[in-house]
Symmetry: C2
Subunit: 218 residues, 2 copies
DNA sequence: AATAACCTTGACTGATTGGTCAGGTCTGCT
DNA sequence: AGCAGACCTGACCAATCAGTCAAGGTTATT
């Protein structure tokens, strides 16, 4: 009974193991996001997913290993979203889609975003290599794309780096500073507000680099 | 000798106490920023300012009290910078000055910004009341100012909230994600890069809300 | 049914950490 | 000089936490 816990359907051994690991990772993501790596305790994570602490150590040999897997999972999701920055599309289309996707991610993966932010803020002790390899490569290809747009006169000449940082900062702010935003908003953002915020962010950035990004005419 | 430590000039008792407290707060700011509240240890802070741990407890009764003072000091600096958003100036002047000031703050108070970000990310357990009073009031007055600009047709109609969040996010990103930026940049940003980033951020945002914010013509 | 492999868990441990305290030192004042 | 009050600190707790372990339970396979 203990193994076929709750409402989950029993599957093969491998499926059940995967399911349990996912539950632990989900709980760990929230706890790490809310307390930071140092402030999080294995007991708190165990409580959050209703498992005894010793069981966590059966699936993840150490707190650091568990944390590493949480961060790696976030990075994977980030990478998938990064693909929505299509290098072949027109700047207006590519940027609008990328910004929208990142806003959606901030809404759906608030805790993941916070863990990533926390990790980078603390000097990326775990994911330093990702920054130097995957992220750097991705960034350089996108910088090249933006440069081409500039050379073609499609957008105003701005250093692509500052533009990318602006997009990352603005979109991730809605996850990382969600608490502050919700205090100022007297509650969580509504569907309409998320849409409006996304449109506004797209509008300002696109218009800011010389595109007629707004919904209404110039 | 222990009391007239290092190169500091001896002053009155009160001055020396203030000086020591400042040293501790400076060290604590860095340690809290780099390790988070939970990951920071009093011993690490003590080492960072070259004082025995017991001495820290003489000046600050508990880790939480020390942390609170660090956060309060940051909030004060933030408030002073917030004054550079002059409510009487033209939108282009007010916004450009405010953004520039915030960029400068990100450069000069990286650790403070990180502590604030961390505090808010974890649900503002210490500064919740500041968010609900001071920050909310400040934000509401600036929203009113921006609304007036919109009504006067000075800037395009955008919800002032999303604009403010964009400014906060973008400027603070240069402090909170400094590590990531420096990895991608292969080193710290130069004076010229800071100036260029500031100009670009100002340019995109001002242009994005319908002002001719760039240095060059339209 | 027997067996081996896998999973679960309460109880335990060594190490770390926030905080305390007694006894010492220094400073300013009379 | 002598005293009171402020300051300093090594040594010391009690609590907490990551990680261990042995014993028991469950499942798949033959």
């Amino acid at each position: 009974m203990a193994q076929t816990e709750g409402a989950e359907k029993a599957g093969t051994r491998a499926e059940m193991r995967e399911e349990t690991e996912r539950q632990i990772l989900d709980a760990a993501e929230v706890v790490f996001a809310e307390a930071g790596f140092g402030g999080a305790t294995m007991q708190a994570i165990a409580d959050a997913c209703g498992l005894p602490k010793a069981n966590l150590h059966y699936y993840f040999s150490s707190k650091e290993k568990l944390y590493r897997q949480v961060v790696e999972r976030i990075f994977t999701i980030w990478l998938e979203a990064a693909d929505s920055f299509e290098t072949e599309a027109a700047p207006e289309v590519a940027l609008r889609r990328y910004i929208s996707r990142k806003m959606q991610l901030s809404r759906e993966h608030r805790y993941g975003s916070k863990v990533w932010a926390s990790e980078v803020m603390h000097g990326a002790p775990i994911v330093q290599d990702y920054l130097e390899t995957t992220l750097r490569t991705w960034t350089e290809t996108r910088i090249a794309v933006i440069r081409r747009w500039i050379d073609a006169g499609a957008i105003r000449p701005v250093d692509p780096r500052w533009l990318l940082y602006m997009i990352w900062a603005t979109t991730q702010h809605y996850a990382d500073f969600a608490h502050q935003i919700e205090v100022l908003n007297h509650g969580a953002l509504s569907d309409a507000q998320w849409t409006e915020a996304t449109d506004t962010v797209c509008g300002i950035i696109l218009r800011g680099i010389g595109l007629n990004g707004g919904r209404t005419g110039p």
